[in-house]
């Protein structure tokens, strides 16, 4: 399977930033500092269970 990470990242950014571009940048930076580079994931990226696990924890905090 592929593309789940990109989808989760996009969801997190849209839910947290709510169309605020400055906030979207901050949230992307927070993801980078967690070791998840949003720019590296595309709809074709394989579903890495470790990264998906990290993102699931983050989504629970939303």
């Amino acid at each position: 399977m592929a593309g789940k990470i990109k989808q989760m990242i996009d969801n997190i950014i849209s839910q947290r930033a709510k169309d605020n571009a400055m906030l979207a940048g901050v949230i992307k930076t927070k993801l980078m500092l967690k070791g998840i580079d949003p720019g590296k994931f595309t709809p074709q990226s394989p579903d890495d269970a470790a990264i998906i696990g990290k993102l699931e924890v983050l989504m629970k905090e939303l």
Binding site: R16, L23, G25, V26, K28, T29, K30, M32, L33, K34, G35, D37, L58, E61, L62
Partner: protein
């Protein structure tokens, strides 16, 4: 003027605090932020600062050097006082056990401001965090807070004048070790941030292939022992590479903006850093540039962007201060802030979005 600064180099706490109080006579602060050399007894300074400003919230920390309008100091106390026209509201909380979560403090903020931290408007509120500089928990705290709120936290890790024995944070008239002070401010004016690190990005990349983030240790870059890969990237021997840590740290670069990770030491073939580095991160080799020129530019740009600045709280990395000292530039750095009320200190780590090194993070008020 709604933001005022004061400082004292008197060597005993009682006289130093009295000196600061005298300089702020006639001013009615709602908040006083202070930074004090480790020569001052922690309990006494916290208690005396609170007693001197009974109508204000007071918080601060111990330092590795202090900053005040136009000056870099040592063995001093520096303070910034805000009146109601500068800060409409503020709430100070202590996390006195860093092994526990920050939820308790966030619940207190929620009770005080009437909004959950998730709901709080990051354009209306700002957070300051001061944290024990020897606890190695900064990443965990910043990461957790970043998950729970969109409010930006900025700050630094307390110092102890390079003794690396004990650092302290101060709040509510008490001192705390292995703790963090968090404050949420509701400024009455516009506010913004400066993050400046005086480095350029070199083309060499170091991919973290093996690391222990909890000990801030990188074991491998690019599949090679970390120390070997770092020296190779610099094109020097491992012996010479040890001398290049301050000049050539590494950075996690996001849209051209580096979040600096500074090497502390080689440990065997591995490398220990001053903040954690995670497996999978792609780091860029950095090279130091002119701290004075880049900081001056950053402050000037912010003045232009905001149409004026009424106050700056500057969290300046001790490694920057050491470099400035080696080059005889401390006085010149202080003068960059001569025309704006400024307070700050030399930190054991800087906070803005995450935990970073070799950076100055500044909270700026219009």
């Amino acid at each position: 003027m709604n933001i005022k600064t004061a400082f004292s180099v008197k060597p005993d706490v009682q006289n130093a605090v009295a000196d600061i109080k005298a300089q702020l006579k006639g001013f009615d602060p709602t908040l006083v932020v202070f930074f004090a050399s480790s020569i001052f007894a922690p309990d006494e300074i916290a208690e005396r600062m609170e007693a001197s400003f009974p109508s204000a919230e007071t918080f601060g920390c111990s330092t590795a050097g202090e900053i005040v309008t136009g000056k870099m100091l040592t063995k001093s106390i520096t303070a910034m006082a805000f009146n109601k026209q500068a800060i409409k509201d503020c709430k100070v909380e202590v996390i006195d056990n860093l092994n526990k979560e920050s939820y308790r403090a966030f619940n207190a903020f929620q009770r005080h401001f009437g909004h959950t931290m998730k709901e709080m408007d990051p354009g209306k509120y700002v957070g300051i965090i001061l944290i024990d500089g020897l606890c190695c928990k900064e990443e965990l705290i910043m990461d957790k807070m970043g998950d729970l709120t969109n409010v930006s936290f900025i700050g630094g890790s307390a110092g102890d004048d390079l003794k690396f024995e004990n650092t302290f944070v101060y709040a509510n008239g008490k001192s705390f070790s292995h703790a963090a002070v968090m404050a949420i401010l509701e400024p009455a004016t516009e506010f913004s941030f400066i993050k400046t690190q005086s480095f350029c990005e070199l083309p060499k990349k170091l991919n973290v292939t093996k690391a222990n983030e909890y000990t801030r240790e990188v074991l491998e870059f690019n599949g090679k022992p970390a120390a070997v890969a770092y020296a190779e990237a610099l094109g020097v021997s491992m012996e010479e590479a040890k001398n290049r840590f301050m000049h050539n740290p590494v950075g996690l670069v996001f849209e051209g903006d580096p979040f600096v990770r500074s090497p502390q030491q080689f440990k065997g073939d591995g490398m220990v850093f001053y903040c954690s580095v995670k497996e999978g991160m792609e780091l860029s080799l950095l090279e130091s540039t002119d701290i004075i020129a880049s900081t001056k530019q950053a402050v000037e740009d912010k003045k232009t962007e905001m149409g004026g600045i009424s106050g700056i709280v500057n969290f300046n990395c001790i490694l920057r201060t050491l470099e400035l000292g080696q080059k005889g530039l401390c006085e010149e750095y202080g003068k960059l802030f001569a025309d704006v009320p400024t307070v700050g200190f030399s930190t054991y780590g800087e906070a803005y979005i995450g935990h970073i090194n070799q950076t100055a993070t500044m909270l700026v008020f219009k």
